[in-house]
């Protein structure tokens, strides 16, 4: 975590206010009119206190950024920034967080409280990404100055490829249609086959295994053994397009209850069900480098 020094920018009303204060100050010295001195003194004190209160507004703040578990490239993602006010008595007003991806506001943060700020962001590329540099700023209290600091946190996370819809392979599609009316647990037995890595141990045919001295698996017509292995063909020109489609397929197939595996030139993930498998596949797709 890194915080830069405070940066102060003057706004248009602020520039006008400063010019007006100088003008009244000169008028006061010139005329010797103490009431103009009084007005100029009030304006000067306001300027000073405005700077001080905007400084106090921004000190004593802690930030914690929560990235969603799944982030896809070129898709809007909601980042949650938890802001904690460590000040014992002073609240913070009108906090703004500006990133190259958008701006969000927190109108009021009471002392010793933590509140969330939500920021819609979108990452253009897949793979390892860092959190963008944030500018925490505030126009508070009088819109004369914008005071802020840059906040950067070394936090990397994986952005999955942008899911791009594509038609499902026809066999899967028809099978899916056939299986729609079938009830769970009433699948029809098709045949026995040798066990391959990734097969569920629940479907081991123990008698045949004992007889043949190797694992034998029962195959059913229904969902029991819907295994699909996605593969990335080598030498493809538009690899990003393929990765996007594979991401879509992986998500869809996991949703449909298939055990999905992934095969690349250098890696083989045997078909499995479950969240961890899905994450592994998506992460592999995200970090694939051809």
């Amino acid at each position: 975590m890194r915080k830069s020094r405070f940066r102060v920018k003057i706004t248009k009303p602020g520039a006008f206010f400063v010019a007006l204060t100088i003008m009244l100050g000169v008028a006061a010295v010139n005329t010797g009119n103490n009431l103009i001195y009084l007005i100029a003194a009030l304006m000067l004190s306001l300027m000073a206190l405005s700077g001080l209160s905007s400084f106090l507004n921004l000190v004593g703040l802690d930030f914690k950024i929560e990235v969603p578990e799944e982030t896809y490239a070129s898709r809007r993602t909601l980042l949650t920034i938890w802001v904690k006010n460590r000040k014992p008595y002073l609240p913070s007003f009108l906090l703004g967080i500006n990133t190259p991806l958008g701006t969000t506001w927190l109108p009021y943060l009471p002392p010793k409280k933590t509140m969330p700020m939500h920021l819609w962001v979108s990452f253009p590329k897949r793979g390892w990404q860092k959190l963008p540099e944030m500018m925490v700023f505030s126009y508070f209290p009088l819109y004369f100055f914008s005071r802020g600091f840059k906040y950067f946190k070394e936090q990397a996370f994986v952005v999955y490829p942008k899911p791009l819809s594509c038609p499902l392979p026809s066999a899967i599609f028809h099978q899916g249609q056939r299986e729609q009316g079938r009830q769970k647990g009433r699948e029809e037995f098709r045949n026995l086959r040798e066990w391959v890595s990734g097969d569920d141990l629940r479907y081991v045919h123990w008698l045949a295994t004992a007889r043949l001295n190797k694992f034998v698996i029962k195959e059913y017509e229904g969902g029991g053994t819907k295994n699909i292995i996605l593969s990335i063909p080598s030498g493809t020109k538009d690899i990003e397009l393929h990765l996007s489609r594979l991401t879509y397929l992986a998500n869809t197939l996991f949703k449909a209850g298939y055990a999905v595996g992934l095969k690349t030139n250098s890696l083989y993930l045997p078909p499995k069900r479950g969240l961890q498998q899905r994450k592994n596949i998506l992460k592999t797709l995200a970090l694939y480098e051809g």
Binding site: P13, L35, L38, I39, A40, A41
Partner: protein
Amino acid sequence: MKAKHIPIFCAYIGFLLAILVLKEELPLWCEGICLMFFITIVNHLKWKTYPSNLFLNSLAIALILLSFFLPHTDIFMLSLYVLFILILIKFLGPLKPRDLWQVYTLNLFLFSAATFSNFKLSFGFILILFFWITLIGICFLTAQQVTEPAILKRPLFYFASGLSITAVLVAMLFFILLPRSPYTFFLGFGFSHKAKTGFTEDIDLNGIQEIRTDSSVAFRAIMSCSLKSPPYWRGMVYDTYQNGRWQIRLTPQKIKPSCPDSNIYHQTIFLEPYAGKTLFALNYPLAINITAPRVFPIPPLSNLTFVLNRHIFQRIEYKASSCPVFPVAHLSAQEKLLYLQVPQNLKGPLDKLLQHLIDKKDPPSVIVKKLVNFLQKPPFKSQFQIPKIEGEPVLTFLFKTHKGWCEHFASALALLLRSAGIPARFVGGYYGGTWNNTGNYYLVRQKDAHAWVEYWNGKNWQTIDPILPTLEVKKTTYFPFFWKWLDYLRLRWYAYVINYDFAKQRRLFYRLKQFFSPSKNKSYWQVKKPDFEWSRYKRYKWLFVGVVCLGWMGFVIYFLFKQHKANLFLCLCELLKNYDYNISPNQGGLEIADMINKKDPELSYMVRRFVEIWYPMRYGRLIRDRSKTKHLKELLKQIKSHLIKQKSIWA
């Protein structure tokens, strides 16, 4: 009020305050028009119908051009008119954030313009109020430009209030430290202070003197203690009487007076601006030294007047020393000739009158006594309201009307003395004043203006007053303590704010240096505290403590009650608790209704009805409005009357 309307509201209030501080400068029609424009606030809050920009710009140009043709318009008034026109045009159009910034700035300009004409303490109070209101407006405007300010309403209001109080305190420091120059450049951009009414260099007996009805302050004189008898404050000495007017013709010589008496009265006087050049001081003044805006002495003249070489358009502060007896026994031949002058048309009638009154062989003191007796007895009568006199005012007063005010009496006596061969002169000044024991000073008002006579008794000048003004009968004033303190504040406002200058700044820094330096003599640092007789008010001590405690309790109860009242569901729970229903803080409304159902189904139905409106209004999307709140309050009343009824049945 909705939070989004607060900046608009503050802009209007700021404008109203600006009108208030410029009240004396603006003609009545202009004030009327400005106040009429306050109706446009309804347009901004409700109707939101605005004319086109083209129309507004054309109107502004036309009105500004028109203001050039208004009669009696100097550059100051012209700039005021332009500022007012610009603000009023802004009020006609939509008030977007940019427009609101402009209105706040224009209001500030109006206040800056008011600094040239309004030096009262009230200006200070109104300026602080304006500052507070505008700051609230700007804070809400800032919030509005970023987010919906409704959620911030209360904290932002408290913050803005706190900020304005702190800013005022810091501004005091800036006010003291800002560099000051003893000189004015570029003639102050052509603006000058406006003079108030007061004594003039010639006195017209034919005109009713407005000064006698004016209760504005002439000056304040700080002294160590009050005098036993009401003091005479010497101002101008008039030597020539012609056509019903007293004038100053003599060019007196500069003198060096010395007081034969050991009692010298020292005063610090804060003189309000007026059209003349003469300074006032306790009779008979020896020396006057101006201390603000610049330090310089004023040489006394032989008639014991102190005259500046320019008109007093600015509030000035000076120190004066006075002697109880006339300090210079001197009458030159030229002066004697002048002080014996009587206009030709008056000589005959006055001589005839004198033949009946005095014997010319009498010594001057006897002649004076006889003439004063003559003027103090009927038919002569002191009266302010007299019909306009045709012809010579002194003759009319002496032989026809016999009614007049101090100027008539003093003029008549001076001219009679001159006719009798005694040099005499007419002195204008003030008599009496109100002693303020909180700040140890005399407050002298314009209505205390007075005229008396000085005559040469052969050795020295003597003061003789043919008619003592009836001093104002003390009215029963409410809160005298408050008014005295207020006037004391006024004095300090003039001393520390209006008259604060380069010399005082230098003195202050010097004293601060003395205070912080490790020197031994720390007693140099002295801040004069008001002499306040605490013992006199001791008996009110417990009353004061009681009032403060009651006030604080009232404040606390009000807030508790108010908070409670705002939550109608809590009111319902409280009501049910009062009638022996066991309501726990965690119980929801419907649970309460179910619980009551066994005991009193009718009451349960009423509670359910209440809750069904309350919950969506409090937590849901149902908009809280006055009619629903009213309905809930009605339901509460019904529940209460039902409970009372039930209780009486069970009893």
